[in-house]
Amino acid sequence: MLRLIVQRLLLLIPLLLGLSILLFGWVRALPGGPVQAMLGERYTPEAAAEIEAEMGLDQPLPVQYGKYLLRLIQGDFGTSLQSGRPVLDEFITRFPATIELTIVALVFAIGIGIPLGYVAARRSGSIIDHSAVVVSLIGVTVPVFFLAFILKYIFAVELGWFPTTGRQSATMIATHPTNFYVLDGLLTAEWDAAWDALMHLILPGIALGTIPLAIVARMTRAAVSEVQNADYVRTARAKGIKPARLRSEHILKNAMLPVVTTIGLQVGLLLSGAVLTETVFAFSGIGSFLANSVFRADYPVMQGFILLIAVVYALVNLIVDVSYGLIDPRLRRQQ
């Protein structure tokens, strides 16, 4: 197990090196470029040349990359052109918001998706089964931003049950030691702040969790349908096992193997930031910031955020692989 973890962490090095070269080249190949974006209407060739010299953009590309890499190794991801703050700081400030949103979306997706898929498979052909299929089909096909608008309109604007935008109400006075707003409220015993932050997460969480929910429900349904007809389930019934044990220990646990893979992939996607949902709900996670940095040619942010997201993605995948071993003894040995 430990060997697997070390092996995978070592593999991260060439992965990130390759990705940094790709990003470096790609960002510079974009039309426009940062100097134009910074100068805007004040653009003159002289002013541009001056800024380029200041930022080292007049040097040959390999030299630029070398210097970039050197700084990267020291943990310096550069400075955002939009805000003037270090890229790493920007990431660390915003990433907790994305994590909170991901957790809510996952709780929604798993909490409903697995039971729905399970019941659909166990009562194959019933009304529940057919509705589950329809619901999951809708879940996959409805565009996220459309769903986000609908949810916002009905539950925030018309019914007023939930706040419309942001991570916390503007009137709320709260301290933020960790930047996880719900956690902060609990840590500082500011219960109303924690509740307020949680309410702000519900609608974007549901909007974001719908596709994963549909996927998890479909995967669970397929896996349970297969496992419940497995020979070992029949054999377990033949030895007089109690129905509750049959469900929990034989059927559900075996069916979870492919579902865990699916969930892992979804977590990776969710943590990469949800541009559309964050935009609709004016939720300041990494997704909307990264999208803005693309519009403004803020290339240090693009490079830095994408690299950091890649690290997160790889770590999530590693955690998923390790968790397979916990469920499936056959993989434990191979690992």
Binding site: R3, V6, Q7, A230, D231, Y232, R234, T235, A236, R237, A238, K239, G240, I241, K242, P243, R245, E249, H250, K253, N254, L257, I327, D328, P329, R330, R333
Partner: protein, 589 residues
């Protein structure tokens, strides 16, 4: 359920006389009857209405008795057994009749009562040890769970009992083994664990559904001995489901023969086997492993005396004269590298085939037998030029195999064709039979469309497939028909050597006999040379001229079929031969 005994006797008087041979002789031991199936019909709901899988079945199993139900797949034997256990698939149900277990009618009791009986009064040893254990649960825990849920042991002392049960079925080092997972067990060990599981509640009736058909013959014997020893000791009644007549003859007191949902014959084992009454039983007997070579039988049927003489000669004596050798394997070894465990550790070698030499004379049939892991399939793959030998050489008709360029390799593939074990997975489900047989002709640019059509029809005729079957798809064919398609496809390019890797192992005996007969007939007709790879010695006896016995990558014995079968030189060969079920059957004949 106080009125049950009355019901039972009332029913007995109106019982049809079909079950008379068994019922009457045992009338005095009625209290010993564990299971009595009366007029049982089982239906499955399908899209086209109800399909009857078992119709009007009657049988009786007494305490300590073993009753074997024999039949081919689809005969309803497993359905009958599952109906007894209340484990029919969700679309199956008992339509008519009664399943009396002691005092209760299992066809009518509540699902809750049925669940109570399973694991305590009724046990199951299922067919395939590979799929019948939960892969992600410790073996011991799977047995513990049954003991606990049936209230036989508490959570705390269940494991002690489990270890006792595993020791009872001959599993060495049972305490440590109980903490392992199924993938750490061999097939034989898994089957032992399943037997321990089936007997854990000390059931009055044990259903053993093909308990050893997925295992190597030598392992099979040990497991069966263990099973019959234990059930005898415990006085357990056994309902043994098998397709193997030899096995039934050897292990059962009573044999019940099923065919297409009907019980066509039943009686004491010896009586059924020595004097079969029903046409199907006779066919089953004829198809059972016999002493005579299939080739001789074919020759006899066709009245080809000179062929018969030749076959007899070839079969009997080792021909001393220099024969025309088609394939010559010289001192061939194959080493596979296995990736090391450590991060940077070096890979190690595994020798699958170790210094094997053999000659295959043109027009003859050579069989290579051995258990799984003996290297026989790797040898076949090297002769097919799918794997390259690590050392040694293989020559075919004078040329070295695998030595030439791409063009030579393609030419070689025309002359050597394989027929694989599984007729279900070796045919493309999206190709019609016609297309499947035509495929090699297209691949090797054989004539135009009309010429190919004529050739496919000729081939279909040779393997006894009708023209209408050419338009069908593999899913619409039976196992035997699919194997005919696979053979036709192999013959399409008029090969000289056909390599049959377990080509008949997946088939029922009757179908197996038909296919072997077909292969032998084609050999006479087309002068083919066969290399048969099999674990089944009965097949070897039916078709081969020469036989090689392989064990752990080496050839341990070689000779004509008669010399190897009549006077095996090594202990391993003797063990293989002893392990064939049905020696009693041959004696009875």
């Amino acid at each position: 359920m106080s009125d049950n005994p009355e019901k039972k006797t009332a029913k007995k008087t109106t019982e049809p006389t079909t079950a008379a041979p068994v019922a009457s002789s045992k009338a005095d031991s009625a209290e010993n009857v564990v299971l009595r199936v009366e007029g049982l019909c089982v239906d499955f709901r399908t899209e086209n209405g109800a399909a009857r899988a078992v119709s009007n079945a009657n049988l009786t199993v007494e305490r300590g008795q073993t009753v074997a139900i024999v039949g081919e797949s689809g005969s309803g034997k497993t359905t009958l057994a599952m109906a007894v256990l209340g484990l029919l698939a969700s679309n199956g149900s008992v339509a008519e009749g009664h399943i009396w277990f002691k005092e209760e009618d299992l066809g009518a009791v509540s699902p809750q009562r049925m669940a109570q009986l399973r694991g305590t009064e009724l046990g199951l040893v299922p067919q395939d040890p590979m799929t019948n254990l939960d892969p992600i649960m410790q073996i011991g825990r799977q047995i513990d769970a049954g003991l606990i849920d049936n209230g036989l042991r508490t959570r705390r002392d269940a494991r002690t009992r489990t270890v006792e049960l595993l020791e009872e079925v001959g599993l060495p080092d049972a305490r440590a083994r109980a903490a392992q997972y199924p993938h750490e067990f061999s097939g034989g060990m898994r089957q032992r664990a399943l037997i321990a599981m089936g007997l854990s509640g000390r059931p009055a009736l044990l259903v053993a559904d093909e308990p050893t058909s997925a295992l190597d013959v030598t392992v099979q014997r040990g497991i069966l001995d263990q099973l019959s020893g234990l059930t005898e000791e415990l006085g357990t009644a056994v309902l043994l489901i098998t397709h193997d007549l030899g096995l039934a003859a050897e292990r059962a007191d009573t044999v019940v023969v099923m065919y297409r949902g009907d019980i066509v014959e039943q009686g004491p084992a010896r009586q059924v086997l020595t004097a079969p009454q029903h046409e199907y039983t006779k066919r089953l007997m004829a198809a059972a492993p016999s002493l005579a070579s299939r080739r001789i039988e074919i020759a006899r049927e066709r009245g080809l005396d000179e062929v018969l003489d030749g076959a007899l000669l070839a079969h009997g004596e080792e021909t001393a004269a220099e024969t025309d050798v088609l394939v010559s394997v010289k001192d061939v070894s194959k080493v596979f590298s296995i990736r090391g465990k450590g991060l940077f550790s070096r890979s190690t070698g595994f020798t699958a085939v170790d210094g094997v030499s053999l000659d295959i004379p043109r027009g003859s049939t050579v069989a290579v037998v051995g258990e799984s892991g003996s290297g026989k399939s790797t040898l076949a793959r090297m002769i097919l030029d799918i794997e390259k030998p690590t050392t040694g050489s293989i020559t075919f008709d004078g040329g070295v195999v695998g030595a030439g360029n791409h063009r030579d390799q393609i030419a070689y593939r025309r002359r050597v064709q394989p027929v694989f074990q599984d007729p279900y997975s070796s045919l493309d489900p999206l190709y019609s039979v016609f297309r499947a047989i035509e495929e090699p002709l297209r691949a090797h640019d054989y004539g135009d469309a009309a010429a190919r059509r004529a050739r496919v029809e000729e081939l279909a005729d040779q393997v006894a497939l009708s023209k209408s079957q050419l338009r069908r798809f593999p899913s619409e064919l039976s196992g035997g028909q699919r194997q005919r398609v696979a053979i036709a496809r192999a013959l399409a390019l008029s090969p000289e050597l056909v390599v049959c890797d377990e080509a008949v192992s997946a088939l029922d005996v009757v179908v197996q006999a038909q296919i072997l007969q077909l292969l032998a007939g084609l050999q006479e007709e087309l002068g083919l040379t066969y290399l048969f790879i099999t674990h089944d010695l009965a097949v070897v006896r039916q078709i081969a001229d020469r036989v090689l016995v392989m064990q752990e990558g080496r050839v341990v014995e070689e000779g004509t079929v008669d010399s190897v079968f009549d006077s095996p030189a090594t202990a391993y060969t003797r063990a293989l031969l002893d392990a064939i079920p049905g020696k009693d059957l041959e004696l009875a004949l």
